[in-house]
Point group: C2
Chain length 326, copies 2
Amino acid sequence: MKYVITGGAGFIGSNLAAEFVRAGHEVHVVDNLSTGQARFLTDIDCHLHRIDLCSPTTDLGDIVAGAAAVYHLAANADVRFGWQDRRRDLSQNVIATLNVADACTAAGVRELIFSSTGSVYGQAAVIPTPEDAPYPIQTSLYGAAKSAAEGFLAAYAEAGLLTVTVFRFVSVLGPRYTHGHVIDFIRQLRRDPMRLLVLGDGTQRKSYMHVDDCVAAVSTVRTGEPFSVVNLGTAEYCTVLDSIGWIVDELGLAPVLEFTGGDRGWVGDNPFIWLDTARVRSTGWRPRYTIEASVRHTVSWLMANPWVLDIVDSRSDAQADPGGGR
Amino acid sequence: MKYVITGGAGFIGSNLAAEFVRAGHEVHVVDNLSTGQARFLTDIDCHLHRIDLCSPTTDLGDIVAGAAAVYHLAANADVRFGWQDRRRDLSQNVIATLNVADACTAAGVRELIFSSTGSVYGQAAVIPTPEDAPYPIQTSLYGAAKSAAEGFLAAYAEAGLLTVTVFRFVSVLGPRYTHGHVIDFIRQLRRDPMRLLVLGDGTQRKSYMHVDDCVAAVSTVRTGEPFSVVNLGTAEYCTVLDSIGWIVDELGLAPVLEFTGGDRGWVGDNPFIWLDTARVRSTGWRPRYTIEASVRHTVSWLMANPWVLDIVDSRSDAQADPGGGR
């Protein structure tokens, strides 16, 4: 079967590409390599198409034509920096999604899988948060844009143009991980092993999952409905301080912690993210990794692949980089 | 006080402008006159700025500067024709809203009022539908775009940039009404008084409110929160057949009804829209018009202003025009 993965040179996308190639499928990756890494695809026998999805291109139609499904994972994936460029989330997470949807409908591809986020629930009124939680009030441009893209895709499905499965992820960890709190902390500790600056007060509670568990769900879980939304996460959560403990233990360090204070890491941060995953569990899917195992695996992978830390260092000089959230 | 009303030459906007002018305020209307009518403002002492909000303009900043509040009512307001131009709702209802929000924040205007719609609830799981109904699945590009705009504005409010009040309207009726089922039916009956084609089977249940009641709420109801959502509607609903009965009675006609069939008028139509208005009622606001009075008033106003029917006729030659929904 032919599968197209947008953002397929990124963290989750490259793991999904590897899985499909292992299973013998023809995989086409569409990526602008702005945060994706061609190096992630070195050992994966797939086709890489360097295309920016924010500007419609006729090439995209040719690439998706004949695909059994398009996995649209390309996105701005950093919830924190939306206010540095107010239109980035609109462009990269809404307009790019509509460009992919229109390429699919024009090419006769019906099956679209979309990577959304638990951030769409804003500061959730119900925790753990089910898919049909009360209509949320958005707290970040990132969550607003992902929710917007979900809504447009639902309209496409209602109009009979596409069959859409939306996965709302918690933050994902594991091999090829390129952004979030684990990398932020390790980068800090590479510069100064004695000191760690933490956004907020460290008590923010977050849920994480391992990329292998994420890929297993995304590639197999379908409801049979024209439009469905499925939360993905583990049945547990941890605090930022828990995660710091596993990270410094894995590194063999004992830094002094300094806190910026407050109960959230940045504007729009949600101090408690925990998704109700009863729906995905009802399909038989179960996560194989605990949060602790996921954090430790991520640390060991990053230490074995310091080039990723170097790239993120060079890319992030202009951005604030203490960790504390995702 | 200075107030800015985008879409102020349109149906609701011109009624709101009239209300503010009556109260002695300085009113600036921003409208591209694509569906708005300069003639609606003839007797209203306000400033009309002809600007297209889809393309950012520096003029907008000068216009909103010093305003006590900006009422953002400019929009594509027709839920039915989204699929004729898939990007129209994105452009006119999302991007235009962000352009207005950014003009406000740049000019130091904090108070933004946004006209949303009961269509954001999709096919609601709870009826009458409260503001915190279960996270909806969108059924139209129009509803998806309005929900998207709400979400982005919520993020602006969370970031401390704006104080936003979102009003989710049912369909509005009354003087200066320019689109929806009443005008569609009257236009048909002007061409052939003996026959009326109805989208769907006529049993779709809808809720309507009078524009005077809408303006009274929009201009006065505030919650004091940085971001709030308020449903607006009457406490009743009617069927399309009820409304047809009032319209033909008002016109003194007895046409034969023909139905396209099915329980909805068009792709994305919702066969039952009825909003829970407990929140707005808790502020003391009450509608003064019943749905029947609103329908009859709309018919008599349109018959006294046939130029509106002429304009809609000339504009709609390319579009399907049987009534049955809004």
